[in-house]
Amino acid sequence: MATNAIDQTRRMLSLVTYLRERPGARVTDVARAFGITEDELIGDLDVLPMCGTSFRGGDLLDIDTDGDRIWWHNPDASGTSTGEPLRLAADEATALLVAARAVATLPGLRESDRQALVRATAKIEAAAGEAAGASSRLSVTFESEGGVFADADRAISERRRVWLRYYSPARDELTEREVDPIRLFAVGHTYMEAWCRLSEARRTFRLDRVAEIRILDEPSDPPPVELRDLSEGLVQPAAEDPEVVIEVGPGGRWVAEYYPHDSAEELADGGLRITLRTPDPASLRRLALRLGRDGRIAAPADLADSARDAAREALAAYGE
């Protein structure tokens, strides 16, 4: 993590208060308590001896480390004391409170954990005082797939296989499969990452598309897989996936907001030409139908044809 001067200053001010109470603290323990690497901590310890009020007749902070323990030789020297821990800034209170309130509403969170979070939130609100006020200006709502979540969570903790009836919007069908759950995560929607015995591959299931879930007696036995990095997008098309080109008018610009794409070129009428890749172009027939007069599939031709055929077939059923 690149260290920004403001974050480092914030951390060093807390560090000084922390170290005062703990002579001979271990580098590993302090790094862990501060959520930083040992290298970052050593970097801070290199700066601290140059800080103090020596130009005002005080002292510099005489703090050093042998790489294992940290020693402060003049904790009582004049002008080096920041004394008590500092009040929370508005952004700090907001970051912590908004996250805590959001996590506390998650379905399936263990009751004891939820209670701990609710207690902690109340204490932070009280301690932050005025700084807590701005936290009401941000809020986050997670989806609540309560029942499915609870079963998936139990299957993970008991290491058991589950049976799913899962809805695929691309095919408009329900499929049944047995999967070995790996983990649950929430990024907007709540998902289960699992090893699918049917496809012999890792799959991500959106919990609001799970029509039915049953915990099986068989133990879960997913092969070791590297967990995907959630900070990247959930949809990561492969370079070899077929390309789809969609031309939308102004009313179809939302497509670029919902579908990860390679490019979105502005068109003269205020629309966009969107190029994206997907392993399964047929899955975009739904999109072509939804767009109506707001857009059309420019390529591939068979996808455009299948949308047109579907519309004609539907119109025939209406007697059109």
Binding site: I6, D7, T9, R11, S14, Y18, A33, F34, M50, G52, T53, F55, G58, T80, S81, T82, P85, L86, R87, L88, A89, E92, A95, L96, A99, L106, D113, A116, L117, A127, A134, R137, L138, S139, T141, E143, D153, Y167, P169, D172, E173, L184, F185, A186, V187, G188, H189, T190, D269, G270, L287, R290, G292, R293, A307, R308, A310, A311, A317, E320
Partner: protein
């Protein structure tokens, strides 16, 4: 080598926190090595002869105070008898009130602090935990071991998020270009930002639209270009409860205004069946469903192509046929 900014900020903080009386800008300038070094300038001229150095120092000093205020430091400015402004950070106004957290509470906060995918809030959450650690919060043994298997992330992909968050925090009006979902061109909007809300992974802003003189909700991904904020007061009162979610649910068609009767081919349309108020097997490979009817239902039903047929109301049926015709013409 230039003195690192973190060292300079740290020294300014220590001077302001360590003093009992307000210190003038001149005293602070003479008290901090980085300011003395900056004052010497790079050229041969004596520092005092070069007004550019004073300007540079003044700008640096103002920025440094702002940075320390971002960290939560309350820096008071006091007018001295001699007309000179003095600065100090009083201990009692900068102290974190006593707070005692147990191991479970510490673990829960540690887990919550990790959810931000936005750099500024992630750093602020870590900073908050560090202040709490300094205040004696115990170290959670293994935050994952004792907790739910759920990993949570709050996605923030929209560039407009940070400037709007700061403007909402400081109650400053903003100006941005906004393209409505069906508009070809963006239009400039002047807004007093009240609150931001993340729903289904997308961020929305609720605020007072100065030109329309009404409350409006904006989707952040539709803001184009930069968000500019003005250091001006709000003109409209901020309501106690801001209803971002209700508005967005209405857009998304979550609020039904009636019911519709549709036919769905057997084995298809699971999400429609999941929300059906009633279902009858018609015996010919089709089922009849009664479903809630709200904004956007026509577009959704068309997605199912020939597997869904609208029976009533007539207006919904006409809308769906109209959309199908557009696709059939291709």
């Amino acid at each position: 080598m230039a003195i690192a900014k973190a060292e300079r900020l740290m020294n300014l903080a220590l001077c302001l926190l360590g003093t009992r009386r307000p210190l003038s800008k001149g005293e602070l300038r003479a008290s901090i090595e980085a300011y003395i070094e900056a004052g010497k300038g790079a050229g041969g001229a004596a520092a005092g002869d070069d007004p550019g150095n004073d300007d540079a120092f003044n700008r640096m000093f103002e920025r440094d105070k702002d940075d320390l205020r971002e960290l939560g430091l309350i820096i008071e400015t006091v007018e001295g008898l001699d007309g000179e402004t003095g600065y100090l950070a009083r201990r009692d106004s900068n102290r974190l009130p006593a707070i005692t957290l147990d191991v479970e509470e510490a673990a829960a906060l540690g887990l919550a602090a990790r959810v931000w995918q936005q750099a500024r809030l992630a750093a602020a959450a870590s900073g908050a935990l560090q202040k709490l650690a300094a205040a004696g919060m115990p170290l959670a043994e293994d935050p994952y071991g004792t907790h739910s298997a759920l990993e949570t992330r709050i996605p923030v992909h929209e560039a407009a998020f940070e400037p709007l968050m700061l403007a909402a925090r400081d109650r400053r009006p903003v100006v941005f270009d906004y393209r409505k979902s069906n508009a070809a061109r963006p239009e400039q909007r002047r807004v007093e930002p009240w609150a931001l809300e993340c729903w289904r992974g997308h961020w929305y802003l609720a605020g007072w639209d100065r030109d329309r003189q009404a409350e409006r909700v904006f989707r952040l991904s539709r803001i184009t270009g930069k968000v500019r904020s003005r250091a001006l007061p709000f003109t409209a009162p901020v309501p106690d409860h801001v209803t971002v979610r209700t508005t967005v649910e209405r857009w998304a068609g979550e609020k039904a205004t009636g019911t519709a009767r549709i036919k769905v081919r057997a084995g298809h349309g699971y999400p429609l069946r999941a929300r059906a108020l009633a279902t009858h097997d018609l015996g010919d490979g089709w089922d009849e469903l009664e479903i809630p009817y709200g904004h956007g239902l026509d577009a959704w039903l068309v997605e199912f192509g020939p597997d869904v047929i609208v029976l009533e109301p007539a207006e919904l049926r006409a809308e769906v046929i109209d959309r199908l015709r557009a696709v059939a013409k291709g």
